[in-house]
């Protein structure tokens, strides 16, 4: 029983990870893939934070009354990771918009025939 509770967060993280990746693999829409990617990254954040938790400890803000604090390092790393995640999402969405405008679709099946390497290069339609 303690195993289940002790490791439940990790398993939950793994489930989230696999769902996130599944969305990226299975769904055709590019924006949907980005969201799947977002989920996959958030699951990593939960994993890191789960590692840093200490039973019965307060957040690592030094205050007189307390002496056992949770591990600050994972939080710092995740602060960076969250912003990186958003940055990637922003650039991804911008690309999706541009793809929509030049190819007229953001569905993977429709895009494949248009991006076959054998086609001659076709510059983007000027606005």
């Amino acid at each position: 029983m303690s195993d289940l509770v002790g490791l439940f967060p990790y398993w939950a993280v793994i489930i989230l990870m696999m769902t996130g990746l599944y969305i990226v693999i299975a769904q055709g829409n590019l924006v949907k893939k980005l969201i799947g990617l977002g989920i996959f990254q958030v699951s990593v954040f939960v994993l890191y934070i789960a590692i840093g938790v200490v039973d019965g400890a307060t957040p690592p803000i030094l205050s007189p009354g307390f002496n056992s604090y949770s591990n600050p390092l994972p939080s710092v790393l995740i602060l960076t990771a969250i912003v990186v995640g958003v940055a990637t999402l922003a650039v991804g969405l911008a690309l999706a918009v541009r793809i929509r405008e030049s190819f007229g679709t953001i569905e993977e099946e429709d895009l494949l025939p248009l991006t076959v390497p054998e086609l001659p290069p076709e510059p983007e339609a000027r606005p």
């Binding site: 303690s2 509770v5 490791l7 967060p9 990790y10 398993w11 793994i14 989230l16 769902t19 599944y22 969305i23 693999i25 299975a26 769904q27 055709g28 829409n29 590019l30 924006v31 949907k32 980005l34 969201i35 989920i39 954040f45 939960v46 934070i49 789960a50 590692i51 840093g52 039973d55 400890a57 957040p59 690592p60 803000i61 030094l62 600050p72 390092l73 994972p74 995740i78 602060l79 960076t80 969250i82 990186v84 995640g85 958003v86 940055a87 990637t88 922003a90 969405l93 911008a94 690309l95 999706a96 918009v97 929509r100 405008e101 953001i106 569905e107 993977e108 099946e109 429709d110 606005p127």
Partner: protein, 325 residues
Amino acid sequence: METLLMIGLLAALGALAVTIAFMDDLLVVTMLSGIFSFTCCAIFVLFDAPDVAFTEACVGAGVSTVLTLAAIRLTGRREKRVGRRASAVGLIVSTICGLALVYGTLELPRFGDPLAPANQHVAPHYLNESAAEIGIPNVITSVLGSYRGYDTMGETVVVFTAALGVLMLLGGSQARPLRRGDAPARADRDVILRSIATLFVPMTLFLAPYVQFHGAYSPGGGFQAGAIFGGAMILYGLVFGIDRLNKLVPERVLKVIAALGVLTYGGTGLVTLALGHQFLDYDALSPRPSGQQIGLTAIEFGVFMTVTCVMILLFQRFASRRSEP
């Protein structure tokens, strides 16, 4: 009680993820991902990581949902029904991988076990020494700003790169700006929104500097403050129209301030170099504890400037782009 709450929240997360996988209306999916982020904030609070929860709320939930919405406006709401809905192979492979990972985690130290190596090696130094070395109660901010200050600089640059990227992709010669009157502020209909906004925006604008400068003592810091300030501006843009926002904070200014933010951060480092110390060693500014605090405030301010401007810039680029028929 706490474990029950944890299991409940994690289960909620799982459920949300699965529903997102099978919904096809992108608008609904975006909302669900917003909710998904908020549940994460709850979990982070539960896991004694308030700073992270704070950032996840502002940046994770706030900004990315807004950006996704702005993008969907341009790329269309409906996901095509037909097509490889469920990739059988993907399902099988991910389940197998999941099982393998579960098998892999069996030997991990148990959740919350104080004796786990992670908590034994470097973390105690931060908890015990930071008071003497840096002298601010919020250990996360001290680790973020000073011990691993270089990472944070790198991360600010990442934010700046994102802005740069979006500017190049949607700005400059690809701008396709909205002509006058494309998105009129519909003064008649959303009077409720406008009144709340007039109340709400100034409040948040005040909250931002508090979070920024109080970061040393309570959860908060440059990222969170920047996100809040940016959020407020975005709210203003949403409610009172993009043109008003563009006029209030023109793109040229934003670009300069964003660049300045990164330069302030880097500049502090170069200053410490000039004073003969290692890069980003704030003790160069003044003797031990106070030098660190000065350094921290400086870099936090740099981060604040960059994050704010980048958030607003991103929203502006997406919002003020004319959508194709």
